[in-house]
């Protein structure tokens, strides 16, 4: 840490209000990643004398201090000489505190990269100047983009070993700018670096006079962390209900996005009950407003039933409740994806049983080509269709990194098997309006009535068909078609179906009340 400037009180005050920036750094040991991180920690004063002394003792006699020794954590990886898991490093500057997810870059460690990238505001990718852009470099950039990172820094390392050649750096720059551009990054910044000697890490190097793009640390100091958007749709997943006594019922949770104020009208999902915010409570006392990512307690005006797993939102911008999801998934487990297997899907604070209905495609992260696939294996990425036993209240990941993400857990082994991001709603899912079954009770005029319902639904722009068995009704519903089921006398009711009695005159109202989206 730097020396004290100004009065102690002033300095401490400044340091108490830093920005928090989360980073992911991706590269293999061969790229000199550990050395670059050790260098960053060293240059920002994050290392203590005894740690430096420990590294110095472990460095071979006569060699310059080995910066990589600051970050190699576990015995197993010291023995193998490779980093095997995500590690978190912390350092700070005058204005910012950085949380750096340090992820190994070997091709088979996609799962670690995804873990580190999931919470990061910006990514740093390492390239060995002697080798240039490798397939794994493209893979790293793709995963960072898929996990929602919009700002990319590329450290072209070991420039000392190519004589700080401008041409080498330029070639890497052009290739990566082109590739990263296709991935939708807002900015891609490149730096010619020697982590071992410190060039362009914290200080501009005199050996790269042709480089005007600043240093890696300069990038970290200036990269804009995402503003918590006060205008973003309000999302509040309920974590738990606080009931210290009979007169108090508070919903505890962390605001996922947007702002909420006392008096705001909200809707509880998936029940659809409307209410207003009576109070926003915190340990410090009641608040008038609260915003993401604060952890607060909301009291609602009515005695509405809301509990863990429910979501509060504004009625006009509420997310659709969906049981069929399309998502991009990274497979994290040794056992491949299995459509026959039971999984649990955890989304915000809500966990529901789920099955993977289909693998739509596998993505080659090096070429960005999609290819057909029946399954996903460890470290593979693909698009999957998931069917949930109960609805999920999600947003597209591109719009919301909290409500757009979920994990899959193997119901038997309890392993976390996949991390997934929701695709834009409705995309490639024509049956998004949630197919339903309308059961027309047996009666004199029920055939006529069934066809009237069918015509009504068709006119409303829905696919509909009249069927005569429960199996056919379920099959239609499963295929995204509204089933108008003509019940035989004595038929058992189908769970979840809307039943209309034969000859009923008010079926339009019934249908509208039960399924407004179906005819809206």
């Amino acid at each position: 840490m730097s020396a004290v400037t100004g009065t102690l009180a002033e300095t401490l005050h400044l340091r108490a209000a830093k920005e928090l920036v989360r980073l992911v750094i991706i590269g293999s040991v061969d790229d000199g990643k550990s050395t670059l991180i050790g260098r960053l920690l060293y240059e920002t004063g994050a290392l203590y004398d005894d740690q430096i002394e420990q590294a110095r003792r472990a460095t071979r006699n006569g060699d310059p201090i080995d910066f990589s020794l600051f970050t190699d954590g576990l015995k197993a990886e010291r023995e193998q000489g490779i980093t095997i898991d995500v590690a978190y490093r912390y350092f700070e500057t005058e204005r910012r505190k950085f949380i750096l997810a340090d992820t190994p870059g070997h091709a088979q460690y996609t799962r670690n990269m995804a873990t580190g990238a999931s919470t990061a505001d910006a990514a740093i990718i390492l390239v060995d100047a002697r080798l240039g852009v490798l397939p794994q470099t493209r893979r790293h950039a793709t995963i960072a983009a898929l996990l929602g990172i919009r700002r990319l820094a590329v450290a072209v390392n070991k420039m000392d070993l190519v004589g700080f050649d401008k041409g080498v750096f330029g070639a890497v720059s052009r290739e990566l700018q082109e590739f990263a551009g296709r991935l939708g990054f807002e900015s891609v910044s490149l730096f010619p670096v020697s982590a071992r000697h410190g060039d362009n890490v914290a200080q501009a190097s005199s050996r790269t006079p042709w480089h005007q793009g600043g240093t890696v640390l300069g990038f970290l100091e200036s990269v804009e962390p995402p503003l918590e958007d006060a205008q973003a749709p309000f999302r509040f997943p309920v974590q738990l209900v606080l009931r210290p006594h009979l007169d108090y019922r508070g919903l505890a949770g962390q605001i996922a996005s947007g702002t909420v104020a006392v008096g705001d009208a909200l809707i509880v999902l998936p029940s659809g009950v409307r209410t207003t915010v009576r109070a926003i409570d915190s340990f410090e006392g009641p608040l008038q407003r609260a915003f993401a990512p604060m952890s607060v307690v909301l009291q609602l005006a009515d005695e509405v039933d809301a509990s863990r797993g429910d979501l509060l939102a504004r009625p006009a911008e509420a997310p659709a409740a969906r049981t069929r999801l399309l998502a991009t998934a990274v497979w994290l487990a040794e056992r491949p994806l299995d459509p026959q297997r039971a999984y649990l899907l955890k989304h915000t604070t809500r966990t529901v049983p789920a099955r993977i209905a289909a693998v739509r495609a596998r993505l080659d992260p090096e070429t960005l080509q999609e290819e057909p696939a029946a399954t996903l294996r460890l470290n593979e990425i693909g698009r999957i269709a998931v069917h949930c036993a109960r609805p999920i209240l999600g947003d597209a990941y591109a719009d919301n990194r909290v409500t757009g993400a979920f994990i899959l857990i193997d119901a038997l082994t309890n392993e976390t098997v996949a991390a997934a991001t929701l695709l834009a709603q409705g995309e490639e899912e024509p049956s998004a309006e949630r197919p339903r079954i309308v059961r027309i009770e047996a009666g004199d005029e029920n055939l006529l009535q069934a066809h009237e319902v069918e015509r009504f639904l068709t006119a409303a722009g829905r696919l509909a068909a009249v069927v005569r068995s429960p199996e056919a009704a379920l099959a239609c519903a499963g295929a995204g078609v509204f089933a108008v089921y003509l019940a035989a006398a004595g038929d058992a009711p189908i769970p979840g179906a809307l039943t209309i009695s034969a000859g009923s005159r008010d079926w339009r109202e019934l249908l509208a009340a039960a399924e407004p989206s179906a005819i809206g």
């Binding site: 928090l20 015995k75 738990l240 410090e284």
Partner: protein, 308 residues
Amino acid sequence: MTHAKDILSPRLSHLRKLEAESIHIIREVAAEFARPVMLYSIGKDSQVLVHLARKAFHPAPLPFPLLHIDTTWKFREMYAFRDEYTRAHGLRLLVHKNERAIAEGVNPFDHGSQKYTLLMKTQALLEALTQGGFDAAFGGARRDEEKSRAKERVFSFRDRQGQWDPRNQRPELWSLFNPRLDKGESIRAFPLSNWSEFDVWQYVQQERIPLVPLYFAKERPVVERDGNLIVVDDGRFRLKAGEKPRLRQVRFRTLGCYPLSGAIASAATSVEEILGEMLTGRQSERQGRMIDHDEEGSMETKKREGYF
């Protein structure tokens, strides 16, 4: 106490973000596990952790007890502080000791720090967790404390023997923690994972969190051993020939069993002065902990055995 308006800056400060994240984690554990417990070591990290837990459930009380693993060798001031703090805030406190090891006279002088720690801390902890049937135990560990902790998960999975396998930890993406356990398995939850020592002290200052006075410099009876400043807290300390406690102005950065805690020479008597010393200080926090120095990678070995 901070005012409500301080929270409403357009962008939360790093401390407020860390606070919100930690509260989220504490609530997740309370919601997902049947019998959580919060380990309470009386140190500064524990004080921050308990403070965050009080915030997480306010106005309701903590839905879980605190658990102190008592080696019987803590500083006297720690015991006094523990009892006063938990009483003042109505916190449920469980205290567990390895009674068999105590009966056999296990102590830090005769048995060496490794064996002593295994018996009095690790085994006592596992015993307490098993006896209490706890399926989740909160700890105040931070990833910046020590190299082997940099890879620790927020939900750290332990097998039926309470052991930690670094190769068998679940990936943690976003803030979606997998809480699923089979019978007999448990987790340790670390809500302060992303806090640094400096963050902890800044938060102590911001929130006016009470601490054991041992954190603040004062003249105390000190002997010097292998470069460590040991405060002689009671008559059980075994002085070597020629050793004589001298009064020196010292404070502690971390607290544990007094014969194993190294103090530092310091004049800092307030949180602000401690922060000031840290801005210019150059020694890492665990430097004063003798149990880490036994061998390279010693913390990792202890963790595999079940040490926090």
